[in-house]
Amino acid sequence: MSERDSAEQVRILPPDKLCFSRDSFGKVHLRIAPDEEHREVRFVRLLPLSEPRRYIMVLSGADNEVGIIDDLDALPPEARDIVEQELEVAYFTPRITRIVRADSKSGVVCFEVETDRGPAKIFVRDRNDIRFYPNGRVVILDINGVHYEIPNLAKLDRKSQLRFEEQT
């Protein structure tokens, strides 16, 4: 039964006790005050779409669960920077700044967009892959599995909004 207890355990990491460091190979290590060490940690989002800045699971080695960072913004700035850099690699999410063109042919929607990573052409096969979240946030999952984000639909320019709405 002890195995069962550990299986159900969820550890929420104390944000002020976390110290991340990056070695010369680019690997990230974690020290939890006072004396807990984890080498080569990885970060996985539990809710990558609906809550990208919260609930980040820290893993070390293959699949050893260290715990969960409840809120990225509660971390000290240095720690947050490192986690954000790591997440940025693991979850490439361009932000859409303008929608240049939008049309749909036989159910496949195509957006030509400008993003913070440069221009892109997004194909969406199923309108369920355009997800709406509170505060006007929209996430588009394209046909290749890349996530594009509109941080706030209402803040896009009028024409982009119209083009977007016509397709949804």
Binding site: A7, Q9, V44, L46, S50, R54, N128
Partner: protein, 734 residues
Amino acid sequence: MREDIERLLDRGEHIKLAVAGDVSIHGQFEQNWLIATDRRLLRLACNGDGEPDIVEIPLSEATAIEKRGTAHSGVVEVRTDNGTVPLFRCTGATSREIDSALPELQKLIENNGATELRLRRPRRARREARCEKCGQPIPYWSGVCLRCVDKRRLTLRMLARVKPYWAWAALSFALMLGITLADLAPPYLTKILIDRVIPQFDVRLLAIIVGAIFAVSTVSALIGVVRGCLVAWLGQKIIYDLRKDLYGHLQELSVSFYDVKQTGWIMDRVTRDTGNLERFLAEGLQEALRDGLTLLLIGVILFFMNWRLALLTLLPTPILAVLTMWFIEKMHVVFHRAWRKRSRLTSLLADVIPGVRVVRSFAQERQEIRRFDERSREFMEANVRAGMMAAKFFPSVGLLTMVGYLIIWGYGGYQAMHPHSAVTVGTLVAFIEYLWMFYHPLQNLSRMSHRLQHAVTSAQRVFEVLDMVPEVVNRPGARPLPNIKGRVEFRNVTFSYEPGRPVLKNVSFVAEPGEMIGLVGPSGAGKSTTINLLCRFYDVDEGQILIDGVDIRDIELESYRSQLGVVLQEPFLFSGTVAENIAYGNPDASIYDIIRAAKAANAHQFIMTLPDAYDTMVGERGLRLSGGERQRISIARAILKDPRILILDEATSSVDTETERDIREAMERLIANRTTFAIAHRLSTLKNASRLIVLDNGEMVEEGTHEELLEKGGLFKKLVDMQSELAKIVAVGG
């Protein structure tokens, strides 16, 4: 007839049952009755005016009553000490009525008349649907007796839905009157223009009239815009309210409602019928009033301008109206036919496409193509007929309307050539324009009766659902039971879905808090029914189900079900994210609660490998999960809900051994400290159960632990042996 029967009875004799029949004992059609009183059984046949033909058997002589035959027809025989007497022949629906009454009649005989009969109206087969009031068969597509529909009452009920918005509706109507009046002005102004302004070179008046026509048209257009927006909003708002009420009510209705009605039927009510109502309430009604008014006003103006010409001009209109109505009647038939053909075509698709694996494996592609082609051709032909019909109609209507114009030009033109005639060129032009405006509402009105019929039918169907009363409801005085400990007792429970065919017979058992009870038995034994009753999808017919000693019917439904967990064999996932599916039933759960539950259900590991972790879409259009994965998500759902009473329906079947171990482990965590009822396909999976209850044909035949029952060598042993035999065969063959 009733008097005839009552005349036959002795003083103090009571009728217990009366069934109308239509066939004599020799198989000839005749009207007759089977009557059971507290003293005797009677058959009564009416032969014309003469005295009724009577067969009677005193209850004291009868020993048994039986029916010989099939579900469709048969003969009721009464056994007496002197032999068997054929009493009554029954066919069709009567036969089913007899089937459900027979056990009660048997009791009546056994108790020599001293029982109250408990009769339930047998559920009618679908094709037998008849109106409760007038007995007319009800068309399949309607579900409502078209003769008995009280149009006035329904129209009033429809209008009642408009009541909260009556001010807006009145405004919209007023605006429409404004448009109608405004539209009537320009032709008359044209007449003045031609007759007076142009011959007299009156430039000032010309400017005024042209200006007036412009002003009137502008105003009319503006009002049109305002009214259009208003009507769009109003119509949708009313129907939005109706849909909301309808769906709210659907969620309250008992499971038995969903047994009887198909999904398509219900979806039609919520989407199509409400749409029909919307069209009628927002547009149809007001348009009809407007059209009537327009006709009247134009008629008045025409007669005012020149009554002789008016009389002649309007001569063809009755013919036109009759022709239109006749045609619409015809069109209705052909178009309905075309619709039916289309729905036959789509239903074929809906049927075959999900079964494509079967089609392939039986190599039936050609056959299916032929079937599709057949229906597709039927559809095409029906459409061609409808199209040809329309092609014939519109030109003939055009021709007939032309007659009106010819009369104006012929007679009116001839008159206008004479100086000082009452008919001027201006009158002619005005007449032509008014006639244009006359035909459109005329055709609309001819269509009106159909539109009304549609709306009323839809209204009836919607209200039918709204008026339906849920079968399983909170009894008066039902109270919440916040902390169920989990003692479950079945006390002499008898239940039947259809009268006369009990599925559970006098079943009694007790489950102590925390016990796991396995339900075992051949298919049809009543395992699923036991679980349906536990979920309180239905109420028992006789006996009681007690939860912690309280009758289940005295516990508030919501309070009870919130403490009940169900894991089904085919776990149902809603379209939504993994997190939402686990939190279904617990929408306030935090992500940490969800993860804890997922971990306990051995689901966390695989969830983290999904592309969007807990945000991954599953369900109908989402990611396809394997059976074992869906299973574990539904276990997590149950763990999160933390129910006091848990129901597992064939929880581990059709998954590989590796996953099965994961699932079983998850199950063990789930089951701990809860009263659990489990149906398992594989009897070996019930080894951990505290006790097994073996059901056979609705009766409880054995009870005990796995070992006890094996030792006992009864039905359970037999089932286990059969299964291991089967496993061997599969092992050898596979």
